[in-house]
Symmetry: C2
Subunit: 403 residues, 2 copies
Amino acid sequence: MRVLVLGGDGFCGWPTSLYLSDRGHDVTIVDNLSRRKIDIDLEVESLTPIRPIGERIRVWEEVSGREIGFMSLDLATEYDKLVAVLTELRPDAIVHFAEQRAAPYSMRTTSTKRYTVDNNVRATHNLLTALVETGIDAALAHLGTMGVYGYGWSGSAPIPEGYLTVKVPTPDGELEREILHPANPGSVYHMTKTLDQLMFAFYAKNDGLRITDLHQGIVWGTQTDQTSQDERLINRFDYDGDYGTVLNRFLMQAAIGHPLTVHGTGGQTRAFIHIRDTVRCIELAISNPPEAGDRPRVLNQITETHRVLDLAKMVGDVMGVEIAYLPNPRREAEENDLIVRNDQFLALGLQPTTLSEGLLGEGTEIAKHYAYRADPSKIIARSVWKAGMETADDLMTELPAQE
Amino acid sequence: MRVLVLGGDGFCGWPTSLYLSDRGHDVTIVDNLSRRKIDIDLEVESLTPIRPIGERIRVWEEVSGREIGFMSLDLATEYDKLVAVLTELRPDAIVHFAEQRAAPYSMRTTSTKRYTVDNNVRATHNLLTALVETGIDAALAHLGTMGVYGYGWSGSAPIPEGYLTVKVPTPDGELEREILHPANPGSVYHMTKTLDQLMFAFYAKNDGLRITDLHQGIVWGTQTDQTSQDERLINRFDYDGDYGTVLNRFLMQAAIGHPLTVHGTGGQTRAFIHIRDTVRCIELAISNPPEAGDRPRVLNQITETHRVLDLAKMVGDVMGVEIAYLPNPRREAEENDLIVRNDQFLALGLQPTTLSEGLLGEGTEIAKHYAYRADPSKIIARSVWKAGMETADDLMTELPAQE
């Protein structure tokens, strides 16, 4: 398949691009490199030394013999260029990662709230109108988030795959209806993904676009079979309070002897997926698109659920570090249960990579290897959900001496 | 109250501004005059000769002795200016009409689809973040649309006021939940109002903003007690295929002897409200806001429902004109029932102005008086929901000679 990967330079986009290329697809990356530029503003860097996109692509060709195209393009603002790329490449499938993807960053300042909404909504809507305008009938797979459902809304009922069957009272009795699961976003970032859902529903209905929305859990892990083939192909590893994801942050913190930063009680239960499964799920999604006229297909891109405190305890025990219970910068329930359906991905053949000490070890090794690149002042999460909320002081001001 | 009317130069905004001023509120209009500029692009004009905003405001002061402020400001793009206005005026209430409001225009071209989403989403989100940033605890009333609910979804059950009680199956039985009514927008324009709803829910929850969303029916009528005091205060009257609303279009068509343009069978049932009730509803809404911490209050701003064909027959009988059944440029059900709850507005004291020959006569008079200003080539609706859909030819190419 000819596949366009929008946001193909990012944490999920890059390993997905290499995986799809390795699997024989003809991949073109479209990216405005915004994720790297935000790091500059935040004065932080990926713990792993990621190489410029041009070098990454050259090295991949050396290693694999396969070419990946690259186009620098801002989806939110360069509409005509997007139409030109679509018209030229006429992709069979499009993977849409091209959104600001960190909840804390989306709550950091007025400016980042506005950027997140403006960028994400326009990127998605421009893509939809461009598909309608060009008449390109590509399978579109979009990265959503488990956060569209919210946590704790449905009690002991499992979170379904996108659509919820409900009974609606009528004067004569009850109607049964299948509705898009009510939106309960916990941040401006998550909110943008709930807006995306409504745009997808409309364009699928009105224009017959074939869309799959992938409600992904929290990604952990760094490398895939492709990114580990050469150090210059290494994937990014975010550990800062805005972009770092919880399990990777724990591994990095443990690697430098930093107490594990648990927000509140750690009673939050979240869904997780390893980066190796992310890339497989993407291929399954674009290979099994809905038909024109179908509502968007929604898949929960997760493999397991864990309580944050249980993860911290596991990492703490293995690595011999303490847990620090810090004020929660988010407005969220202290504790919640979470059961999530992912039947469709299992039926499509996904074999989940679940949490194990072996995989934790891999992450720990990477974190230790590159620990010298860390800035401990970037670890504490300080983007608060509302002005005036308390945040913790730095727990470590210098890196420990190398062993 | 000190009231900011965003979009206060438009069809609903102008009479609302005058009504609130007449009722003793201290009104400032914020508008970028986009509605007038779109008319330039569409090569059409209000049937009524509306005066420039500065003249309108001067005349209102002559007539009433009351001042209205005006600020030219593009909410979607001039964020800093918005913050400055809010900081300077510190309004008690804000009425938000500042969105592109025509469904056909929103489906006209790729460019108008993108403009509608970019403008409406950014205008609303900028307003929300500006309220959070400035800490101004104003009552915010937003013009939504009945179109967020869709038509025919709930069978014989009445459309509730924003929230729907449903039963959700669980492993142990059922949970009862009150959810935002599922979104079923029929156009890009309606879709933007469903996006607004999710932004309102988030900012009410996270930041305690006090928001009322007014799901308005199709507005008819032109004048209010205020706009009729001087011809230079006259409200706009849109008759073109993009911006004209159905009943006003019928009145204008009848006035020039044009067949009444019914799309499809005319079996569509829609909710209506007279412009005189719109302005009253706005005052009721801003005078009865929710508390901080409450979810957005949703009110259905409608007074009655009618089948389009029944309206055409009524106007046709009174005025002696024929009905023309034309291809429907929209993708919608041929027929639907519609029962709508508006209990909250009735409880707040609204006394509905319902359809009567007297009121139709008033519209007819205005339409006849200004018929010489009409361009018959602008009457047929030609913005189709999907490329290739059929539209009608002009039914009249010249205005009839003046009687």
